[in-house]
Every structure is written in structure tokens, then in C-alpha cells.
């Protein structure tokens, strides 16, 4: 994880350590180095998605299983550290997305009158234009996911969704509602539509992002790359269907 520790050193290089950090700064300011960080953070965030999905699928087991899981998770001492790490990963991924996209727009300062893809693909809604491919709108899908994440944080972390009751009255006084009742309320309301759209867009983002990360990290091999590309589609489908099933369950089945 040389790249991550390097990130922190970048803004304030000490006078004596200038030559020692110079190569790290050149690395992180280069196009390849930034794509490398993009790939690493993307894959680590994929790891988070797996754990997050596994935990959330416990709602299908029952309220007790889900509440116990949520309680145990939140009583872990190192959870805040993990959350800071996760936030830093997200921040690096998003900040670099804005930086790299702005560079890319500058590089193609005048757009074409007409643009057609030469890649052989089944006919899509967009015809022969490159826009038929998920790789062409990673920034857009990423932006939609960011908006979804903000809504998700308001619902589940900040407890600010006006349609949800986050407290219950008990004989001992007003206490916080259990996580299961919160998730049922959120996923049973109009927010469910946001969750379905958000997670499906996430699937499209992953279907390109997952294998693309390997390519950016230089991990391309005639034996493994075809499998990585197939796995990317499978992974994206499992994550998207897994997460999208929750609001569908909340709306129609629960």
C-alpha cells in the first residue's frame, strides 16, 4: 500500500524528505499513477460492497438476526477506524474521477460532429455510437451513485428522512428504533425507488469498473483476462440484484 501512505505525504513534504518523496509525487501526479489509485480504491470498495450485501441479506433471515448483526457490528471498537478508511477510499475514488474526467474533457477540447464506435457489438438503444457501452458513461453512473449514496447516508446514518420514525416510545422513555424497523420503513416508502435505481446503476458501473481496475493495475493475461471480464458481469449482476432485491422486498413482500 505504498500509494496510500504516499497520498498523505503529498500535501506537506518536509524539506529534508523532498528527494525521498519526489518519486511518489511524480507517480501520483502521472496519468498512470492516478489510474492505478483509481483501480485499487475501486477494487477495495468492491470488497466493501460484498461485506455490506452479505450483512444486509440477513433481513431475509429475520428481524432478530439482522438486529443482532447490526448491534454486533456497531459495538466493534475498530468500526470508526474502518469507517474513516472507507471514507478515504471513497474520497480518493471520487476526487480522482473529477480530476481525470476534467483532464479528459480538456484533451478532447473540440468534439466531433459525428462519432461512431468500431467495436462489434449487438445493436443497442444508442445504435453504433460509443454511448451504447457502459464504459462510456462511468462518470455519469458514478455521479448517480454518489447522489444515491448521499440519500442513503441521510436515511441510514444521519437519520434525517422525514418519512421514517427513528425513535420508539417505551415505558422507560424514548429510545432509538431497532435497525430492522428503520430499514423496513425506508425500503417500504417512496425511497425504495431511489434504492432500486441507485443499485442498478451501481451494477452497470461495476460491470465495466471491475475488469477495468485490473487493466489499470496492469493485470492483463491471456489466460485470466477473459475470466475476469466474465466475472465482472457476474459480480455486477450479483451486487445489483442482491441490493435491488431489498427495496423490492420492502415494497411488495414484507
Amino acid at each position: 500500500m505504498v500509494t496510500k501512505s504516499a497520498e498523505k505525504q503529498q500535501p506537506s513534504p518536509s524539506a529534508s524528505g523532498k528527494s525521498a518523496t519526489k518519486w511518489i509525487m511524480t507517480l501520483l501526479s502521472s496519468s498512470l499513477g492516478q489510474k492505478f489509485v483509481m483501480g485499487i480504491t475501486g477494487l477495495l470498495l468492491c470488497g466493501f460492497l460484498v461485506v455490506h450485501l452479505a450483512g444486509n441479506l440477513l433481513v431475509y433471515v429475520g428481524a432478530d438476526a439482522y438486529n443482532t448483526y447490526a448491534h454486533d457490528l456497531h459495538s466493534m471498537l475498530l468500526l470508526p477506524v474502518a469507517e474513516v478508511g472507507l471514507f478515504l477510499l471513497l474520497f480518493a475514488h471520487i476526487a480522482l474521477a473529477f480530476k481525470l474526467t476534467s483532464d479528459n474533457r480538456k484533451a478532447r477540447h473540440i468534439s466531433y460532429h459525428e462519432k461512431q464506435s468500431k467495436i462489434e457489438e449487438p445493436p443497442s438503444f444508442f445504435g453504433k455510437t460509443p454511448m451504447g457501452r457502459t464504459s462510456s458513461w462511468m462518470f455519469l453512473s458514478g455521479s448517480i451513485i454518489l447522489i444515491f449514496l448521499i440519500v442513503h447516508m441521510i436515511d441510514m446514518k444521519l437519520h434525517l428522512n422525514p418519512a421514517v420514525t427513528y425513535t420508539v416510545e417505551t415505558p422507560e422513555g424514548v429510545i432509538e428504533a431497532d435497525p430492522y424497523s428503520i430499514i423496513v420503513q425506508v425500503l417500504g416508502s417512496w425511497s425504495a425507488a431511489v434504492y432500486i435505481i441507485g443499485t442498478i446503476i451501481l451494477g452497470f458501473h461495476l460491470s465495466h469498473g471491475f475488469w477495468s481496475a485490473f487493466q489499470s493495475l496492469g493485470l492483463n493475461h491471456p489466460k485470466y483476462t477473459p475470466w475476469i471480464r466474465k466475472f465482472a458481469i457476474l459480480f455486477a449482476a450479483v451486487i445489483a440484484i442482491g441490493f435491488a432485491s431489498l427495496p423490492i422486498w420492502g415494497l411488495f413482500i414484507h
Partner: protein, 253 residues
């Protein structure tokens, strides 16, 4: 039996580097389907010349598909609709009677338009100057088997060396990225034993120059490889990423 085509051409006309350009429509009649695309432009230029108009400037040299001089974005595709071919090898039989053909120059910040359809691709030359070579003391040709190179390695290097430096990868990429070009040059030399001594400095210097020239970043859309007349694979881009990381993290340079 030769058929003829009547065509409408919409061509980007720009009198000079710092002058505004615009699309101009030209009607062409009786174009033979046996003509190459460049010959069709020659016919148009002869007509323009006869009328006393400025001829359309476009790049061309060998007209055999190997020099990498011709360019042109034809109906939104670098080197026209065919795969694995250059504009000079594109024939008019590929078009239908009555077609409108849009002809644009390569569009990239790093490839400024000089005039009409001609762009300045010297950014590629400056990248090559930074490491697209091997430093050897010349003399008698060495004995052929002195340095063994396994056939698969030769194949990999030759596939990368097929790059003719035309810039179609930059033109087709939505980010105007030059990764396919640079990676082909890096792969060609770093896979061969003769290129190994300068392996680390080469990739670092070439990538630094590529960034300096203002090319975009790779988002792995694969448009470059699909548009490439030499059909250079994107596996070269992964190799360059690997070479770059190896050089940055593991070498002393």
C-alpha cells in the same frame, strides 16, 4: 464493371492554425467505386483548383497503408468504416450512391489543426524522442543467435511494433488518450532483450512526455484498439501500466 457514385461531402475547412473553421458541403458526381478515399479527395481538389478555389489540405504519403501519414475521421470513424485499415486503403465501393460523408480532422488538444484536415502530430515524435529507441554501439551485425529470443516473445514484440503512429487511437478515444500508441512503443522495446537495459527509464520518460503533451487518460473503452489500422491490442496498455509501476516502485531510476 465499374459503377459510379454521386456523393455529398461535408468537409472541415480551416484556413490556418489559429483561425476559426467550419464545415463546407461539396457535391461530387461520377466517382468511380474503384477509387480510394484519397483519390476521391484528389478529384475534388482538382475540381476546386479548376474553379480557382483553395484546395482541401489532407495528409498522405505512401498510400499503401504502411506509413501512418493519412488520417481523417470519416463519418465519425477513424480511417473510415473498415477495421484494420488506413484511409488510403479505404475504397469508394464501401459507400452507397447518394451518401453524405462527413470528413473531420483528428480532434485532440495535443494534435492542433494546422490547416483543414491536417493536424500536427509531432507530439508523438517528442514522446518517441524520450525513449522510443535502444542505445547501441553500432558496428558489424552480431551473430543472429548470440541473443536468444523465444518465438512467442518475438511475436509479442512484433505485434506491438506494427504500430504506424498514425494517431487513430487518439482520434477514436473519447478522452483523446495516447495510451495505445505509447504502450505499443514501450511493449515493443521492453519485451526484447535489446530493450531491457533502458526498460525503467524508457517507460517513465515516455509517460511523462505523454502527460506533458496533454493527452487524456485511459478509461479502458477499447475504442483505440478497434480503430487501430495495425490492430494493436489493449493488452499492451496493461503491459505499460505494469512496466510503469515496476519502474516506479522497484527500480532505482
Amino acid at each position: 464493371m465499374s459503377e459510379t457514385l454521386d456523393l455529398t461531402l461535408r468537409v472541415w475547412r480551416q484556413p490556418g492554425a489559429d483561425v476559426a473553421g467550419k464545415y463546407v458541403e461539396y457535391k461530387l458526381t461520377g466517382i468511380s467505386t474503384h477509387m480510394s478515399f484519397l483519390e476521391m479527395l484528389d478529384v475534388l481538389n482538382e475540381q476546386l483548383h479548376a474553379q480557382g478555389d483553395e484546395m482541401i489540405a489532407f495528409d498522405h504519403d505512401c498510400r499503401e497503408g504502411i506509413c501512418g501519414m493519412c488520417s481523417l475521421m470519416i463519418n465519425g470513424q477513424a480511417h473510415g468504416p473498415d477495421t484494420g485499415t488506413t484511409t488510403c486503403q479505404l475504397h469508394m465501393r464501401r459507400f452507397k450512391n447518394g451518401d453524405t460523408i462527413v470528413v473531420e480532422p483528428w480532434r485532440a488538444q495535443a494534435f492542433p489543426v494546422i490547416r483543414d484536415l491536417v493536424v500536427d502530430r509531432s507530439a508523438f515524435d517528442r514522446i518517441i524522442e524520450k525513449g522510443g529507441f535502444i542505445s547501441v554501439s553500432t558496428g558489424n551485425a552480431p551473430e543472429a543467435n548470440a541473443i536468444p529470443v523465444p518465438a512467442p516473445v518475438q511475436e509479442t514484440a512484433m505485434d506491438a511494433a506494427a504500430c504506424i503512429g498514425c494517431g487513430a487511437c487518439v482520434a477514436a478515444c473519447k478522452n483523446a488518450s495516447a495510451m495505445l500508441f505509447v504502450s505499443a512503443k514501450v511493449s515493443h522495446l521492453s519485451t526484447l532483450p535489446q530493450g531491457k537495459p533502458e526498460r525503467s527509464s524508457r517507460v517513465q520518460n515516455m509517460v511523462a512526455q505523454m502527460d506533458l503533451e496533454g493527452f487524456g487518460n485511459c478509461t479502458n473503452t477499447e475504442e483505440c484498439s478497434a480503430a487501430c489500422p495495425a490492430e494493436i491490442s489493449i493488452s499492451n496498455i496493461a503491459r505499460m501500466n505494469r512496466e510503469y509501476m515496476r519502474a516506479k516502485l522497484c527500480s532505482k531510476e
